[in-house]
């Protein structure tokens, strides 16, 4: 990968500018080039290796001879040659020469731009998020193949050791090659299910970026996920769930700055200053949701976007549209049966019918998956506190013990301290 190419020869102006160009090309076209190579070789690892060698050649060659007019075509040509060399070296008996020649020809045509093709990153994404690939590795695989992240960075974001993440990525790519997983956009009848897997992978990446905005040690993946969401929407503009996902992500991202106050303390959604929400981003999010609603199918991401939209209504109405939110959560719960949705639904209904109603729903939602889920305990504590129940203290303590974000930990502590005025059991 381009980041690992360091210090070849003496640094000079030309050298530096060649490196800057190579880095710019890597940022702009890495995923596209991997996709073009992998679609034809059907081997992501071989494609990445060939491309990485091509970038290494570029760093040696461009400072001496000047950068080519079309850097992408130059890289494809070199990567093609590297791939042919590597394949010849490792060729086993069953790889026929005519097959090698065919792939080499296709790569040559792609390098010279002879074949006008749609964006090949989308078929690559469908391969990475194929049902045959373990769910937990789909998002990491997309981040690596499309955006060129290394295993250590991805592992850090997903809280998995770099070695483990590296092994999982290698295994998944081997599976794609050995099982013959196609690099294709699925047929219409398969599309909803297959697209959902791609969207889930993107949303998983977004959530990793979003859950921890305060620290700079973990890479923020939110903007990368939004970029991937835009890519899918641009390729599939009539898929309502793709529009829905992009809308959800933009809604949440628009509130990013408002989630921390001037001292870096956590501000919950209902206390956020709406003037600090990104109005332009919200307009785009609303527009995407409208476009999705005009299409015949409804799904999870459109519903999630509709919840966000009802929260955003506070900008104009002064309060969120809790009736709408509760109704949408009903639909979401029926669709997903997710314990997380059940928690959010309980909170929404508590706004309409009081804390006791919310607590009853939380009890009903109790699930072992929620036992170590911090927002469940925070929601429970909040509702108990509103109901004047001294058990709020223990629930806050549980939520504090489960928090990994120090700003959220301090927020929960302040809430717990505010209980002190109320009578508490000795």
């Amino acid at each position: 990968m381009i980041r690992s190419q360091e210090g070849e020869g003496h640094p000079s102006g030309r050298d530096a500018s060649a490196r800057a160009l190579a880095e710019a090309v890597a940022r702009r076209s890495y995923g596209r080039l991997v996709a073009m190579l992998a679609a034809r070789t059907r081997d992501i690892t071989a494609a990445e290796d060939a491309l990485s060698e091509a970038f290494a050649s570029a760093l040696r060659d461009w400072p001496l001879r000047g950068a080519p007019d079309n850097p992408e075509a130059w890289l494809m040509t070199v990567a093609r040659r590297k791939w042919i060399d590597a394949t010849r070296r490792h060729r086993s008996a069953e790889d026929s020469l005519p097959h090698l020649q065919l792939v080499a020809d296709e790569l040559g045509a792609a390098a010279s731009g002879g074949r006008a093709s749609a964006d090949e990153r989308l078929p690559l994404m469908f391969a990475c998020a194929h049902p045959a690939i373990a769910q937990a590795v789909r998002a990491p695989l997309v981040l690596q193949t499309i955006l060129g992240f290394d295993a250590a960075a991805i592992g850090s974001a997903f809280l998995v050791s770099p070695a483990t993440m590296g092994q999982r990525l290698v295994r998944a790519k081997r599976k794609i090659r050995d099982a013959g997983i196609p690099f294709e956009i699925p047929e219409p009848e398969e599309m909803p299910e297959r697209l959902e897997a791609v969207l889930d992978a993107i949303y998983a990446a977004f959530a990793e970026g979003w859950s921890d905005p305060a620290t700079d040690t973990r890479r923020d993946l939110a903007e990368d996920a939004i970029w991937l969401g835009r890519l899918v929407v641009s390729c599939l503009p009539a898929e309502p769930e793709a529009l829905g996902l992009l809308s959800v992500m933009l809604h949440a991202h628009a509130r990013r700055d408002a989630r921390r106050d001037a001292d870096g303390e956590y501000v919950p959604l209902d206390a956020q200053d709406t003037a600090r929400w990104d109005a332009e981003m919200l307009v785009e999010a609303e527009d995407l949701l409208r476009r999705a609603s005009a299409l015949p199918r409804t799904g999870r991401y459109q519903l999630e976007a509709a919840v966000q939209s009802a929260h955003a209504a506070r900008r104009f109405a002064g309060r969120p549209d809790w009736e709408a939110i509760a109704g949408i959560y009903d639909a979401l719960l029926a669709l997903t049966d997710s314990p997380v949705v059940a928690v959010n639904r309980a909170v929404a209904l508590a706004e309409l019918h009081g804390p006791a109603a919310g607590l009853e729903l939380l009890d009903a939602a109790a699930d072992e998956r929620l036992a170590s889920y911090q927002p469940y305990w925070a929601a429970r504590a909040e509702l108990l506190s509103r109901a004047g129940d001294p058990a709020a203290r223990d629930a806050y303590t549980r939520a504090i013990g489960l928090a990994s974000d120090p700003a959220i930990r301090r927020f929960l502590e302040r809430r717990r301290a505010a209980l002190a005025t109320a009578p508490s059991p000795a």
Partner: protein
């Protein structure tokens, strides 16, 4: 599978702010106990109280204090029993000390039978 979470922190900073931070640490330990994964754990006294023993040429020798001046030292540990490393890392991330120092997650050998 058992994992030891070894907590490394700035010793002076830790000693000075112990009282203020204890509630966080207790809430964290309590959450692990309630999740049914907690095995054991303790916090260690400040590094100034440490003593090292080494046997040189057959004779035990006592060496005072830590060998090298390092900023982050072992300040405590927890042992948890969870299905895999991913789960252990999730719990390590919740450790209040992970925001100040580092939490080393180390798998424990199963006892010899």
């Amino acid at each position: 599978m058992k994992y030891m979470l070894l907590i490394y922190e700035d010793d002076a900073d830790r000693s000075e702010n112990m009282e203020e931070r204890m509630p966080h640490c207790l809430a964290y330990r309590d959450a692990m106990v309630k999740a049914g994964i907690y095995v054991t754990g303790d916090r260690l006294r400040p590094i100034a109280s440490t003593t090292n023993v080494r046997v040189i040429d057959g004779a035990a020798r006592v060496v005072d204090g830590p060998y090298v001046e390092i900023k982050e030292t072992l300040g405590g540990f927890h042992v948890i029993d969870v299905p895999d490393l991913d789960e252990a890392l999730k719990w390590a991330a919740r450790c209040p000390s992970a925001t100040r120092g580092v939490v080393e997650v180390r798998p424990v050998w199963p006892p010899e039978t």
